[in-house]
Symmetry: C2
Subunit: 332 residues, 2 copies
C-alpha cells in the first residue's frame, strides 16, 4: 500500500543535501581492532550539523518540499532532542520559520540549542501534549509537520549517512545502527540492500525501551505507556512508525541492550575515538560485540555514531562508575 523508498530516493536526497551538510569522517581505533580481532569503521555523525545525523533527514525534507513547490510558511515538529535542532537548523537554512514543541522538562542546553538555530520553542506539560499540540498546529494552512522518523523523505535523508560510508568502504560484512523510531535503520537498510547486498543490517535498542523488539516479536506495533528510563535519550520514542516498521522487519538481527553496557561503550568509544559519543550511539557496540563473538572469520563492519549531544545530567550518569579499567574483548 505504501510506496517503497528506493535507493534512488536516497541518492536524490544526497544530491539535495550535499552542499548543506558535512561529509563526516569515518574513524577507527587500531587498539579496538587489535583487541577484538576485527575491523570496525565508525561513521562519525557527531560531526554532522547540529551534532547528529538528524540534520540529514530534516534538510532533505525541507529541500524536497521546496523542489516540489510546497515551500511552507511554517515548519513544526515535536521533539526534545536532536530532531528538534535539526528541524530548526534546516528550516532556518531555507528561510522558513519553525516552531518546535517540547516537553517542559527538556534540558536547558537542548532548548537553548534549538532556539539558537532560530526556532520558536513551545513548552508543553508532557510528551503526549507535545504530540497533540504539534498535530493541531500542523492543520493550519501553510504549515508543514516534519515528524522525527515516519516520513519517506526523513528516512531517505537519514539513509545518506550509510550511502556516504559505502561509497568509501568496500566489503562491509555488517552495518550497525541504533533504533529510536527506526528512521536511521530504515534508510541504512535500503542503502545496504541496494549497494552491498552481502552486508547484514543490525539494530540495537535499550532493553528498557524495547518497543521495536516487542513489535517485531508480536508482528504489530507496540507502544510504551510512558517515557522509558534509559540513558540512551535518542531511543526514548514510545513507538516506531508504520513506515519504519516495514523496514525494521527486514533487519538481519536486532539486540536489546542493558543500561550498564550502554554506559560501558559510551566511555570506551569516547576514550578510544576521542570524540563525543552520546549513549544512543554507543549502544550498537554491545550488538557488535555479541555478533562478532559468533563469527568464524575476520569481519569488516560499519557502525553509525548517530550523534554527540550530551547534557550535563547524562554526562554525570556516564562517568559515575569507571569502566575504562575493563578492556573490551570478545571473551565473555
Amino acid at each position: 500500500m505504501m510506496k517503497a523508498i528506493t535507493i534512488q530516493d536516497i541518492q536524490n536526497a544526497k544530491n539535495r543535501i550535499d552542499k548543506y551538510i558535512n561529509q563526516t569522517p569515518v574513524l577507527y581505533s587500531h587498539k579496538l581492532n587489535e583487541w577484538l580481532g576485527h575491523e570496525i569503521f565508525f561513521k562519525a555523525e557527531c560531526f554532522q550539523k547540529v551534532g547528529a545525523f538528524k540534520a540529514r533527514g530534516a534538510c532533505n525534507t525541507v529541500a524536497w518540499l521546496i523542489e516540489n513547490n510546497m515551500k511552507p510558511d511554517l515548519v513544526v515538529s515535536n521533539s526534545s532532542g536532536n530532531h528538534a535542532q535539526a528541524v530548526a537548523w534546516a528550516s532556518n537554512l531555507f528561510g522558513i520559520l519553525s516552531s518546535i514543541y517540547m516537553p517542559k522538562n527538556v534540558s536547558k542546553v537542548k532548548a537553548q540549542a534549538t532556539a539558537s538555530y532560530g526556532a520558536n520553542t513551545i513548552f508543553c506539560t508532557d510528551r503526549i501534549t507535545v504530540d497533540e499540540q504539534t498535530e493541531l498546529a500542523a492543520k493550519d494552512k501553510g504549515t508543514y509537520w516534519i515528524p522525527p522518523f515516519n516520513h519517506p523523505q526523513v528516512i531517505a535523508g537519514q539513509g545518506t549517512a550509510v550511502l556516504e560510508s559505502l561509497n568509501k568502504l568496500e566489503d562491509i560484512d555488517a552495518i550497525f545502527a541504533p533504533c529510536g523510531g527506526g528512521g536511521l535503520l530504515s534508510g541504512s537498510l535500503i542503502v545496504a540492500r541496494a549497494m552491498s547486498p552481502k552486508s547484514e543490517v543490525i539494530g540495537a535498542e535499550p532493553k528498557n525501551a524495547n518497543d521495536a523488539a516487542e513489535s517485531l516479536r508480536k508482528n504489530s506495533i507496540q507502544t510504551l505507556n510512558s517515557t522509558p528510563d534509559t540513558i540512551a535519550d535518542g531511543a526514548r520514542t514510545l513507538s516506531i512508525g508504520e513506515l519504519t516498521f516495514e523496514y525494521l522487519k527486514q533487519l538481519d538481527d536486532f539486540f536489546e541492550i542493558e543500561e550498564e553496557d550502554i554506559i560501558y561503550w559510551t566511555q570506551w568509544l569516547s576514550h578510544l575515538l576521542k570524540v563525543r559519543v552520546e549513549p544512543t550511539s554507543a549502544m550498537p557496540m554491545v550488538a557488535v560485540r555479541k555478533w562478532l563473538s559468533k563469527q568464524k572469520s575476520k569481519k569488516r563492519i560499519l557502525v553509525v555514531i548517530s550523534g554527540g549531544n550530551i547534557d550535563i545530567t547524562t554526562m554525570n550518569k556516564i562517568w559515575r562508575k569507571d569502566f575504562l579499567n575493563n578492556i573490551p574483548s570478545l571473551a565473555s
Copy 2:
C-alpha cells in the same frame, strides 16, 4: 651557550615523523566564531597517536637517535601522563624496549595505556623518587632518557603541530598553546617566528601551577614545592627547563588561568567541537577570550588542542557544575 633550535630542525623533525604520526585535522566551530566575532582554528592533537601532541616529540627523538647511530637498547622516561604513553609508543614503533617511571598514585587507565604500548612500568612512591630513579637508570650503558620537554629534539618534534597548521592556514594573528614544561610553546614559537612573523605566540598555565609565570616575572626558573592542585594535569610540572625558559621569555603574552575557567572551556570546547578535550587543552581559551576582548579588528587565531586523555576522576570534576547554560561571549 646552548645551540638554538631552528625552523630547519623542526622541518627535519617533520620529515622524520610524518609517516608515523597522524596529520591531525584543524577544526572550527561556526557557533563559537559567531558568538566571539572572530575566527578560531583548533589543531586537534587529541586525534594524534596516544591521544596527544607528545607523540611528536617522542617519535622525533627516537628517530633522530637512530638516524645518528645512537639507537639505545632501552629508553627511559619519567611521566605519569601523555609523555609516558608517547615514549612507550615511539620506542615500541622502532623495536626498542622502554621503562617508564611513574608515581604509584597514577590513575590505572593511564598506567594501563602506557603498558599497552609495550612499556615496562615502574611505580615509585612519589614524583621526586620518580625523577631520581629515572636519572639513575639513565646512567646505564645503552640507556637513553627522553625527558618530557627540556630536549632539543623533543621541542623540535612538538613544533611540528604548528608547522603543519601554518602550512594550511594563512594570515594567523595569534597562536595559543598551554604551558606545562614549555616544550609545545617553545616549538610553536620557533615555527611562528620563522613562518609567520606577524603571529603573536601566547601561553597559558594554571594559576595554581604558575611556575612559568613566576619564572618569567623573576627572570629565573622557579620551582614548585609540591604537585600543584589543578585539573589541568598536563600542566602540573614542577618547573620549566633551561632550554624551554629561553623560548618562553620570547612569548608575546602569558596568562595564568583560574580552575573554574579551565572547566568552563573544557565543557564548551567538547560541546562545540564534539571532541574529547582534556582540561590542559581548554586552558588557552581563557587567554584567547581575554586577548580577543582587547582587539579592535577581526582576528584569525590558532589554538593547539594538546590532547584528549581524561581519566574518570577528572571527568567527574569537569561535569560537576553546568557551564553550558552560559554561552561564551567577549563581554565580561
